[in-house]
């Protein structure tokens, strides 16, 4: 019986057709999308960096490392990813605690792990390990989770978020929190709970305002009205809106963006690179870029729906959505829809840490998609 269903199972797998890719556990659509995106990134970086090849070399090197990590993770069977989830989570928590205990003596130096060619923050890996842990924890039992398990999962999310916020690294803390929230949402917590949490958040807004420091309030006000602080943070937003707006429909052309080349646009290699794209390639170019992102996100969600167990579904789904949040928070900030938060444009901004985590997360998606197993009996 078991043997027969296994045979049937393999026959019904269309992915098995292309032998080499399947053997390498690679999902071709995802890989294509990611490579295209990296290519776009390098092209824009060449322009943003005023044609300096050094920047490209370094970014290429990081991409190479990231893709290697992706391939490596794709080889690991989801069962093993699942088995290691709690261990990795625990190690991460211990690292965060040690940062807080010893971080002060080392004057913040321990926030980073220096691997020589690339630097790594322990907080960064929670963008992966937190969805892994929640998926592992909730997949143990029947879904939707009962209230006590829900509270536990909430606490699992809160612990690293608070530790990271204490570092203090609010940007990363927020992304980790959304990663946890997506995992819970995908696990099917009821709409009643979701709306209750939503209302609580809305109610906490004014309370938070009351407790905020003066400079934090100032930041919120600047977001609402950037022109009120043209010398400070508002300057970034004003300049980036000019860059985007002056790009028009077809753009000023590659290497011809005045905003970026005359150095009006701050942080144009990193967080504000989206404005460079909009200025040089116009609305047409940005729409093409967004379509590429959309393709990758939808492919990720599709992989999630095709996953054969709850763990794979929740993990693949939340990782895809975290990728989307990166895109939206960055593009939202650059276009003036969201306040200025230091989140890079995924796979395009110059810089290494998040690039590796993002590619690693796609490695896990590929692993979930290419290692199929029997339905539970």
């Amino acid at each position: 019986m078991l043997g027969r269903s296994q045979v049937t199972f393999y026959e019904s797998q269309p992915a098995q057709a292309s032998g080499l890719l399947a053997w390498l556990h690679i999902d071709l659509p995802l890989l294509t999308g990611l490579i295209l995106l990296s290519g776009v990134g390098l092209t824009v970086l060449y322009s943003a960096g005023d044609g300096e090849l050094v920047l490209l070399h370094k970014q290429l090197f990081r991409l190479g490392f990231g893709f290697a990590a992706m391939f490596a993770l794709a080889q690991i069977h989801p069962t093993n990813i699942r088995r290691w989830a709690p261990v990795l989570y625990l190690i991460g928590i211990l690292m965060l605690i040690s940062v807080i205990i010893f971080g002060e003596e080392g004057k913040g130096a321990q926030r980073w792990l220096d691997l020589g060619f690339i630097r790594f923050q322990p907080s960064e890996m929670f963008k992966l390990t937190l969805p892994m842990l929640i998926a592992w924890y909730l997949a143990e039992h029947r879904l939707p989770p009962n209230p006590s398990r829900l509270v536990m999962a909430g606490l699992f999310t809160l612990l690293p978020v608070l530790l990271i916020a204490k570092q203090p690294d609010l940007g990363t803390a927020l992304l980790v929190a959304t990663a946890g929230a997506f995992a819970l949402f995908l696990a099917g917590i009821s709409w009643r709970v979701i709306s209750a949490i939503g209302m609580l958040m809305a109610a906490l807004g004014p309370v938070a305002w009351y407790f905020m420091h003066e400079y934090q309030r100032q930041r919120v006000l600047t977001f609402l009205n950037p022109e009120s602080d043209p010398l400070g943070t508002g300057y970034h937003i004003i300049q980036s809106k000019i860059a985007i707006g002056s790009g028009g429909i077809s753009g000023k052309g590659w290497l011809n963006g005045t905003q970026s080349h005359l150095e009006f646009l701050p942080e144009r290699h990193t967080d504000f690179i989206f404005a460079v794209i909009s200025e040089e390639f116009g609305l047409v170019g940005v729409l093409a870029l967004l379509s590429l992102y959309l393709f990758i996100i939808m492919r990720g969600l599709y992989i999630a729906t095709q996953a054969q167990d709850t763990f794979g579904r929740i993990l693949a789904g939340s990782l895809s959505l975290v990728f989307f949040v990166y895109l939206f928070v960055n593009a939202g900030m650059v276009t003036g829809l969201l306040p200025v938060v230091g989140v890079p444009l995924p796979l395009i901004s110059y810089g290494g840490t998040s690039l590796v985590t993002i590619l690693a997360s796609f490695g896990m998606l590929m692993s979930i998609h290419t290692h199929k197993k029997l339905l539970p009996t």
């Binding site: 300096e52 130096a109 043209p230 985007i244 707006g245 905003q259 701050p266 959309l294 959505l321 593009a331």
Partner: protein, 614 residues
């Protein structure tokens, strides 16, 4: 069971599918909003933004504040900012770094040292920061670079204010120095306030008062032409310069002390008794702090680091020496206070001491003994045997309690970074650190300031000041006044932690004995006697226990490094004390002949000015 689990599975799968659809839809909606926003910016408002972009000539530049100056008590400048040109490279912007450096070295002189220092700085800088390869360029060099400027990308000549320490090595340990901000410091500073700032205090006063010396960053909007050249300034928020610091330090005393140390290594700490102000804080050998400002080359640093004389080590607050006999006045005071001896009560000194029932002989420095000795003679002639007996009677617990009161074993909390606490041993300390009980013999050698007992020169000076003040302890401090840019001034606080009340007669007796050290016929420091004012002091000699095994064998050097450290503490004038001083001369031999004259020179300078006391 199988039935229900399959049903569960289907249910879960459907639940997830629903959620995935909701997520996908939300993604689409949010992306649509984003596209709408882009449409608004790039199509609807395109003309508006095109105009803005064409007129965009306004750039934002940080205006770094000028670092505060540092003066001594007489207004002598100790740290200032001098304008200088430097040649800087931004590695990210060069096509080939090595070729660029090679080509530059054909235009102006760039030597191996410069290159090695450049690579050193490169390791610890912020991304997209430019790094100096040559500093303090001559005008002619600036011109030569300007002519060849078009050949290079990522190369700039920058005019900036460079920190300068006119007193050089004389104030190196006290002031510390500033250096380029590195990655680690970047984590702990307010980066928006350090926009445009390249330097940060690395140690000494420069580090301890970084927050005040730095100031507040300013910003300016400048109008630039299409090539990015600045045409005029539109609006600006001026930077607020850092606070100036006025120190208690007396530069003349500092030079006197350094000079008086001669060829010896060592430390001198002098304190103004009334205020606790640090008048002199010398650690010899010093180093040239100006070398560190623009980054020191690896080779030069290596030379300083590996020197046997350890010039980078601040002996005055980090050097922990056995205080030797300089602790005798304090322990004598303890004996009087706990009523275990009388000032004129005599003991017999045969030149050695034995614990009851033990064979081991604890030697006096005077082989044939001092004969009949009372507390006064024990201090004046520095009799060890008297103190073995006194220490045994007091016991380690009372010694620990009493000496801790004078600050031994605790940091003085002076306003300088990196001070060490010395060591006042106790039963608990030994149990914790060594996992051994306290042995009676160890109490004896604590009685003569040896064994585990360690103190820094500043601690000794501070304890001496407290003694001179008869228990009125004022925390030592380096900074006298903080002068804000608007002209207002803040005096550093005088922090007083008074010692428990002691019998006034006991203070007088111990101070009398210390005066006899200088004035008495048999006083160990009678060589520094003067008619001009009265000095109370105490000599000390600290054994150097070991020479590192791996030190290179050089008979003369090793012999020199094995010699005892010479110590001397003093205050003057006896009737109305103004200055307390501690001198440690490494491998100097005897406190009376080597360390005391150094203290005398410093006190002469302070109390008599330039006049010769004869």
């Amino acid at each position: 069971m199988p039935q229900s689990s399959i049903k569960d599975y289907l249910h879960e799968s459907q639940l997830f599918l629903g959620r995935a659809l909701v997520s996908g839809t939300l993604v689409l909606i949010i992306l649509a909003i984003l596209v709408g926003r882009l449409f608004y910016l790039q199509v609807e408002s395109h003309d508006h933004y095109t105009t803005l972009s064409q007129d965009n000539r306004v750039k934002l530049e940080p205006l770094p504040p000028t670092r505060g100056l540092i003066y001594d008590r007489n207004g002598t400048i100790l740290a200032q900012n001098l304008p200088a040109y430097s040649l800087e490279i931004t590695p990210e912007k060069t096509e080939n770094l090595d070729q660029t450096i090679q080509a530059l070295s054909e235009i102006i002189a760039i030597d191996e040292e410069d290159i090695s220092r450049f690579h050193q700085l490169r390791k610890q800088r912020r991304r997209f920061d430019s790094i100096p390869i040559r500093v303090r360029l001559e005008d002619e060099e600036v011109a030569r670079i300007a002519v060849n400027r078009h050949r290079f990308s990522g190369v700039d000549v920058k005019a900036s204010l460079l920190r300068d320490y006119p007193q050089g090595l004389q104030t190196a340990h006290l002031l510390g120095y500033v250096g380029r901000i590195n990655e680690q410091e970047l984590q702990i500073i307010d980066t928006s306030n350090y926009r445009g700032t390249n330097f940060i205090g690395k140690n000494g006063v420069e580090k301890s008062y970084e927050g005040m010396l730095h100031g507040q960053v300013g910003l300016q909007q400048v109008e630039v032409n299409a090539k990015g050249r600045v045409l005029r300034v539109l609006e600006s928020r001026s930077p607020q310069p850092g606070d100036n610091l006025h120190l208690f330090l007396d530069m003349e005393l500092q030079s006197t002390a350094l000079e008086a140390l001669g060829d010896y290594n060592g430390a001198v700490a002098a304190i103004d008794i009334e205020t606790g102000g640090v008048l002199t804080l010398v650690s010899k050998p010093g180093y040239d702090p100006n070398l560190f400002v623009e980054g020191i080359s690896a080779k030069a640093y290596q030379a300083l680091e590996s020197s046997l004389d350890n010039p980078l080590f601040n002996r005055a607050i980090r050097g922990q020496y056995p205080p030797g006999s300089t602790v005798k006045p304090f322990i004598g005071l303890a004996g009087l206070e706990y009523n275990v001896v009388g000032y004129h009560q005599e003991n017999y000194c045969p030149g050695y001491y034995q614990l009851p029932g033990k064979d081991h002989k604890y030697r006096d420095w005077k082989k044939w003994g001092h004969g009949k000795v009372d507390l006064e003679r024990a201090i004046v002639e520095s009799c060890d045997v008297y103190y073995y007996e006194l220490a045994r009677t007091l016991g380690i617990d009372r010694l620990y309690e009493f000496l801790s009161g004078f600050g031994f074993g605790e940091p003085t909390k002076v306003d300088l970074d990196g001070e060490l606490s010395g060591l006042m041993p106790s039963r608990e300390w030994k149990q914790q650190r060594r996992r051994e009980p306290w042995y009676p013999g160890e109490t004896l050698i604590v009685g003569i300031g040896q064994g585990y007992f360690l103190a820094t020169p500043l601690q000794l000076a501070s304890a001496t000041a407290t003694l001179a003040n008869k228990g009125h302890h004022i925390r030592p401090r380096v900074v006298h006044t903080i002068e804000h840019p608007d002209g207002t001034e803040v005096k550093s606080p005088k922090i007083i932690d008074d010692l428990h009340q002691l019998d006034p007669v006991h203070w007088e007796q111990v101070i009398d004995a210390m005066s006899q050290v200088v004035e008495g016929l048999r006083g160990t420091a009678r060589s520094i006697y003067t008619d001009a004012y009265r000095i109370a002091g105490k000599t000390g000699t600290a054994q150097v226990f070991s020479v590192k095994q791996d030190e290179e064998y050089d008979e003369e050097t090793v012999a020199k490094r094995k010699r005892d450290h010479a110590l001397f503490i003093a205050f003057a004038p006896v009737e109305a004390p103004r200055i307390a001083i501690a001198v440690v001369v490494e491998n100097g031999g005897h406190g009376g002949s080597v360390a005391a004259p150094i203290a005398r020179k410093v006190m002469d300078r302070y109390l008599l000015g330039g006049r010769d006391a004869g």
